[in-house]
Symmetry: C2
Amino acid sequence: MPIRPAPPRSEAELWSRARSLAGLSLAHLATDDGCTVPDKLLHAKGWVGQLLERRLGASAGSKDEPDFQALGIELKTLPVDRTGRPCESTFVCTIPLLDVAGTEFEQSRVRRKLNRVLFVIVEGSRDIPVANRRIGEPLLWSPSEQEESLLKQDWDELTGIIGRGEIESITGHLGNAMQVRPKARDSHARRRGLDEDGVVVARMPRGFYLRATFTRAILERSFVLPLP
Amino acid sequence: MPIRPAPPRSEAELWSRARSLAGLSLAHLATDDGCTVPDKLLHAKGWVGQLLERRLGASAGSKDEPDFQALGIELKTLPVDRTGRPCESTFVCTIPLLDVAGTEFEQSRVRRKLNRVLFVIVEGSRDIPVANRRIGEPLLWSPSEQEESLLKQDWDELTGIIGRGEIESITGHLGNAMQVRPKARDSHARRRGLDEDGVVVARMPRGFYLRATFTRAILERSFVLPLP
DNA sequence: TTGGATCCATTTTTGGATCCCA
DNA sequence: TGGGATCCAAAAATGGATCCAA
């Protein structure tokens, strides 16, 4: 009988659940869940995140809503290396190419998603078998004034370029805390976007991502330690 | 071995294929296609249309493109009663609620879809078992000046109302040739639309439909006769 | 190291239309 | 009778992310 709890009724309850997972292996969680651990994540890239959604009682699949709807909290798994540093960027959301230019950061999906985030640390080193990887400490984060300011700067720069129809000139190099990278099935995927003249044309779908250096700073500020 | 022809290379070839189907039953086409005929269309409302797409070599599933892409021709099955009159309205396309107001009829999806249409007449009387219903004569149609004028009048009236955010006040009664009706899973479905203040709100998805009286007039003008 | 590319499951949208009760 | 409601399959979008070559 899989463990599938109801949504947590308070932040405290969610926090307590998340802390109780620290130290457990993915194999342990998978057994509780009644699912099997994939050998590699290559063909199951979202597996860890979805496993934790079920275990923590996130209301799955809700669209443009926080994972814990009633609490306004977003869940993100954060894979770290042996030194406790994030080894991947963190996907935030896809970019609505047609209307993003007219949106202020304060009203944006990025701001809403990041308003309150439960980061669950997970071992992510490639040489640890997926089944043996352990859950670490959780971290409940809201952007500090400084972090918010960094994100807003990146938002203004990046959406400005997109609004001028110059998204094709954006590379992952832009942005200090947040970057724009492809978010698609493959490099041939296209969706509707704007060109330099404001005409609707086919563009590669892209998303906003938090840089690993940014989430690393968050962990350090909170004194989140490496797993022993 | 199902009959699945390549796309027709010319209008003449498509016309010839369509004419060769006249008189055949849906059971006959289904056998050729390697599929089975549903008892009722209640749970297979698009079945006849999709059967004919495959039989005529339409490039299936292409988005916002004519069914016969290279030829610029759209395929529509047209169910008729025993007197040869259309017994249903004809769906044209869904309504992009956010941008439809700024579009001139000449540039609209409606105009593009209807630029050249292959109507394939099919018996549609409910008391004829689906399997026994026969294909009738095809008709290649482009709007006459008068028909185009009628459609443009309806377009201007309907999109004007939508642009003012008053789509909730539109009923199927409006429009002489073309009307706006729900196009959704059910009456609870919602997508993004505009309210009276231009604010994005949840609205029922709707589509443009040609009235049966309009397609009836097209058949009569072309002397398309009832099936014997 | 990391920016560009890619992978899966699930939900939403689109395109094919017909049903059915007031 | 026909306007409002509904049905299905397939494609596209979204949300979960990690892979990997330079």
